[in-house]
Symmetry: C2
Subunit: 311 residues, 2 copies
Amino acid sequence: MATLIALDWGTSSLRAYLLDDGGAIIDVRQRPWGVRNLPDGGFDAALADITRDWPRCVRIAAGMIGARGGWHEMAYLDLPTDVARVAESLGEVSALDGDPVHLVPGLRDTQRPDVMRGEETQILGAVARDPALSANATLLLPGTHSKWAEVRAGRVIGFRTAMTGELYALLLQHSILGAGVDDDAQADDAIVFLRGVRETRASGDAGALSRIFTLRAQWLNGTLSPTELPSYLSGLLIGEEIRGMSAGREAADVSPIALVGDPVLCARYRKALREFGFSATLAPDNAAAHGLWRIAVSAGLIATASREARA
Amino acid sequence: MATLIALDWGTSSLRAYLLDDGGAIIDVRQRPWGVRNLPDGGFDAALADITRDWPRCVRIAAGMIGARGGWHEMAYLDLPTDVARVAESLGEVSALDGDPVHLVPGLRDTQRPDVMRGEETQILGAVARDPALSANATLLLPGTHSKWAEVRAGRVIGFRTAMTGELYALLLQHSILGAGVDDDAQADDAIVFLRGVRETRASGDAGALSRIFTLRAQWLNGTLSPTELPSYLSGLLIGEEIRGMSAGREAADVSPIALVGDPVLCARYRKALREFGFSATLAPDNAAAHGLWRIAVSAGLIATASREARA
């Protein structure tokens, strides 16, 4: 029975899940309607369209929808935190159709400082599905702004952000390094990707920014082609993310790493991690949907089938 | 007596010097006519305009003018090299007025690999004026693509590039970090700049990219204002350049550092270097003009006043 509409509403896209009373996914839809790119009619029109023909259900949303400039600004929740505290801290906004949309707060690590919106829900979803992760893990969520989150005993105790995906896009589209590279060039050459990772690893403490201009020189030398450059740059920057985030630590000192997110990107990170001596597992798919489900259950928003209510 | 027209012709600007037979500057002019931004009539029109009313003299040019896509492509000269080898390797292009323009080759460090065009002339100019630099120095030329060049016994023996200036502009103009910052905001707050430098220094081996997203979090917290952000970002990135280029080396292991280039930018680098325990001197102004003069003398292109001919 359809029980929950779960919305993963980010900067550039909106994904909606229809979940049954056991938390299983009945249907999923995606639109390019991030909070910076809404259709005419704004948030209400986007919501009405993406949930058209779905039964009337409790609705819950996570991501940039709760940021300043989103539908309704939600204060960040400070660490440490877990699913129960997040569930206690939900906000809501009234949609034009008269029903509320419950909103998940982002998290703030005041030690860094650092912030996230949306990833907390993926983390809680991944952790809820795997007791080992819940006990002790580093959750790595690669992307535009990659997150490295530390989880202990079911609580998020700290996290850090690397702007790897954004930096990659900027350098490829706007810098001298990308001059002459086709707009639709892809970072899909696994061999060249690993060359880039190894270039960063070989830089030692100096780091990738001390090596990045060699891409231009290799291009001019003819040893790096326009089709190879994106993969090499991707390897260099993902390598730098891993190098920086693990600096001064042996593999034995780092908690078990679980990758959460797009499977293709996660697989690429897994290869790069291996070059630095780290092994990593891939968390189950649809962590955001599962996290929203768990938060809604914890908040008492929905009645669940008995097998899930005990979880 | 006017003897040499020296052209420092880069990607975004053209500067022309009229020099006398002792190498002193008689006149200087600047236009926004870099090789990517020429006036109607191209290279010849730019040259005719910027040298208008100057006496007919030997002409020599350095910089991106000799790159692929410049007026005439000059092969890179491999290291190690000195003023005599550069002078032996000049090329030339015929201008519409019938006289040649002599062209200085760029340098290539095949060990990295790395390349430069234009900076070799500034280095040779700075070294020619200061015997101490010529003997043993690290010449640091800050800018869009900062160069760290090692000079021993008058020869350039190696160099490395950091894309610090380009990265700063990209992040400020196109990334989430610059969202909400005025287009004309300046990195001129010395206190905040040093906060950025110290943030990178405190990162240790991890490096600035592991900290850079804290700027966004500090912005959201209200602890970093829109007017402060450029200075903080500048400090963070210049700090990273110094951190990466000196990684694993104590101040005593690094050759004396001389800064060459724009005095305001050089002064900012000097402050950042001090935070990392390095002292640096500022090389005399107009290193490019003096370098072109020395190369022209070494190549036998011009007759010099006796005091210079002995130098």
